[in-house]
């Protein structure tokens, strides 16, 4: 495996770490099965790519993309809280709607950014290779986002969101406006996904309407893989685990792409990735069994 492949996996893994953090907020903290992600990820890409190719500042465009994601998440929350539509269905409705909305925003299915400035090209120092700079910038960014989230969810407001997720009835009894908390939580989660989409479009040469397919699956896989490596109920560890999970998942894909030496073919890629993820999920179980057997033997 070449160094270039590894840097690439790290870069894409870090972008998807933002998605994983978003999924962690909706699925784990709020306990809201939110599929909006499949639409808000390309929404971010669509908004950023369209604004940048219209001549707007890449940084401003990226912020606008995150704001659009927040709006999408809030609408999902609103459909659920105010219109009493079941959570899963509300998010599916929003996800479907976003497909058309994204096409409207872009005006066509593909907006290239190959010859446009991006946040990465603007922060690119002359002396360093771009494939190294991008992951390094992203490491810094993801760490900042992680600590910001850790801090936010320890404030009075953040704790109210967590309470809404873990025990809504008790939260209401304590005077928490749980409906509003769902809205804000989903807005933050989808803002992160749209932010990731905006960065992905800028690092990969453009936004494409198909870029959202399977985002939620990857995000969830990242969260669950992370939980297996770093099982904990502390938020700071959970966010760290989600990030690690997302990066690890990408390394698995990179590994699978390089599996041709054992006679595997291109079309086996998804299968290999699935097997690798399964192995990670099973390791804790095997470990526990191994331990209990040794204990028995010792006794």
């Amino acid at each position: 495996m070449s160094l270039y492949t590894l840097w690439g996996a790290l870069e894409i893994g870090l972008i998807f770490a933002l998605v994983a953090l978003g999924v962690l907020i909706s699925f784990r903290i709020l306990r809201f099965p939110d599929l909006t992600v499949d639409g808000s990820f390309p929404l971010g890409g669509a908004v950023a790519a369209t604004l940048i190719s219209a001549g707007y500042d890449p940084f401003l465009s990226t912020v606008a993309a995150a704001a659009a994601g927040a709006l999408a998440g809030a609408i999902t929350g609103w459909l659920n809280v105010r219109l009493k539509i079941m959570d899963l269905l509300a998010s599916i409705l929003m996800m479907i709607a976003l497909y058309s909305i994204n096409l409207r925003i872009m005006g066509k299915p593909n907006v290239p950014l190959i010859s446009e400035p991006t946040v990465f090209s603007m922060l690119q120092p002359e002396a360093m290779a771009d494939y190294v700079v991008r992951p390094l910038l992203l490491v810094a960014l993801v760490v900042v986002v992680k600590f910001a989230l850790d801090w936010f969810f320890s404030t009075q407001f953040g704790l109210a969101i967590r309470a809404t997720g873990s025990n809504p009835r008790m939260a209401r009894a304590q005077g928490v406006a749980t409906g509003g908390m769902v809205l804000v939580g989903l807005a933050i989660a989808n803002a992160l996904c749209a932010f990731a989409g905006a960065l992905f479009a800028q690092s990969q040469g453009g936004a494409d309407i198909s870029m959202g397919i399977g985002t939620i699956v990857i995000g969830l896989a990242a969260v669950i893989v992370g939980e297996n490596i770093l099982p904990s109920r502390r938020l700071a560890v959970m966010t760290m685990a989600a990030i690690l999970g997302a990066v690890l998942y990408r390394f698995f894909v990179a590994l699978a792409l390089n599996a041709d030496f054992i006679g595997l073919k291109a079309q086996d890629l998804n299968l290999i990735t699935a097997v690798l993820v399964t192995v990670v999920l099973v390791i804790p179980l095997l470990k526990a069994r191994f331990k209990s057997r040794r204990r028995k033997e010792a006794a």
Binding site: Y4, L103, P112, L113, G206, D260, A266, Q267
Partner: protein, 325 residues
């Protein structure tokens, strides 16, 4: 020996190592070609096989040491990006990128390794090349753009009295949207108009086609992935409502379209393969203009014609490369 000297020596050793690292791959590399496509489907696979055959014709075969690798993104943008990174890291002599998303990911990942794109309808719009002329960059390739004038001519030959042309397409597919946009501009010049019906998923194709009943005289389709994969649904509507179907891939004629003047995807692959061979022999991709398909095949289906209420002229049947009876 003082510290400065040690550091300096260390540096010069690094320089030697660095130079060796740069020189080595050039010295030992046999010809290597890395090919990627976004998904696997018959047209894209035909291109891939065509590329390999084109290379073989120029004398580059596995037996003679050609290193060939193929990866597909399985329809996932993130995987397409990772494949692009892997290829750039493998430093092949040429990367062949089939379909728009794959080509964009590869072109975004390298400014130095030669890239030959294929199955991209509008490479300029996709920002792969600044124009169809020699790009001066590391990118060249073959566009699968169809000369739409020829397509409209075919529609008029099949249904001479046609005024309203219906199109079923996926609004999420870049290549289809390009065709629809140009048809909208071109048709009025021939005294005809376009009626659109969108099918965002392949299961929507039948319903989209039904919505055109009574509003159109003929249904024309591009090589839209959704439409091609659900072409039978379109054929059912065409047969039931007597609307003749004109396609732009010859395979659809075998499935029940009246006629198609289609790009020969295998031929497109051969063309791309020949370009790759020229680069392997030392040509610079920046000096090579982007090409379009040089060969079109006409297929007609008489059985479908009678089911869909048209009679094919003897001239059209005579011009066809294949006639389904």
């Amino acid at each position: 020996m003082n510290l400065v000297k040690v550091v300096l020596q260390g540096r010069s050793m690094l320089a030697v190592l660095g130079a060796a690292a740069v020189l080595l791959p050039v010295a030992v590399s046999a010809q290597s070609v890395a090919v990627t496509s976004f998904v696997e489907h018959p047209a894209l696979d035909a291109i891939r096989d065509g590329v390999k055959e084109g290379l073989a014709k120029a004398g580059f075969t596995d037996a003679k040491g050609l290193k060939w690798q193929f990866q597909t993104a399985q329809g996932n943008s993130a995987i397409a990006a990772q494949i692009a990174r892997k290829f750039v890291g493998d430093k092949p002599d040429v990367i062949v990128a089939i379909s728009t998303p794959s080509a964009q990911a590869v072109v975004a990942a390298t400014k130095s390794i030669p890239v030959v794109y294929a199955a991209v309808t509008d490479p300029v719009e996709a920002q792969l090349v600044p124009s169809m002329a020699p790009s001066g960059t590391n990118v060249t390739g073959v566009s699968d753009e169809l000369a739409l004038d020829k397509q409209i001519e075919l529609i008029r030959k099949v249904v001479p009295e046609a005024k309203r042309v219906g199109m079923v397409y996926n609004p999420g597919e870049a290549n289809s949207v390009v065709v629809v946009k140009r048809m909208r501009e071109l048709l009025p010049k021939y005294g005809m108009s376009l009626v659109e019906a969108s099918a965002p998923r392949s299961v929507d194709v039948g319903a989209a086609a039904r919505s055109l009943i009574g509003k159109v005289d003929v249904i024309y389709t591009s090589t839209d992935n959704n439409v091609v994969s659900a072409y039978e649904a379109l054929v059912k509507v065409g047969n039931d409502a007597d609307i003749p179907l004109v396609a732009s891939d010859t395979a659809s004629v075998l499935r029940g379209a009246v006629a198609a003047l289609g790009v020969d995807y295998h031929g497109l692959g051969l063309q791309a393969g020949a370009m790759v061979a020229r680069i392997l022999k030392g040509a610079r991709p920046g000096d090579m203009p982007s090409e379009t398909s040089s060969r079109l095949d006409l297929f007609v289906n008489q059985q479908a014609a009678s089911k869909q209420g048209v009679t094919l002229s003897p001239a059209l049947i005579k011009a066809a490369a294949k006639v389904v009876k």
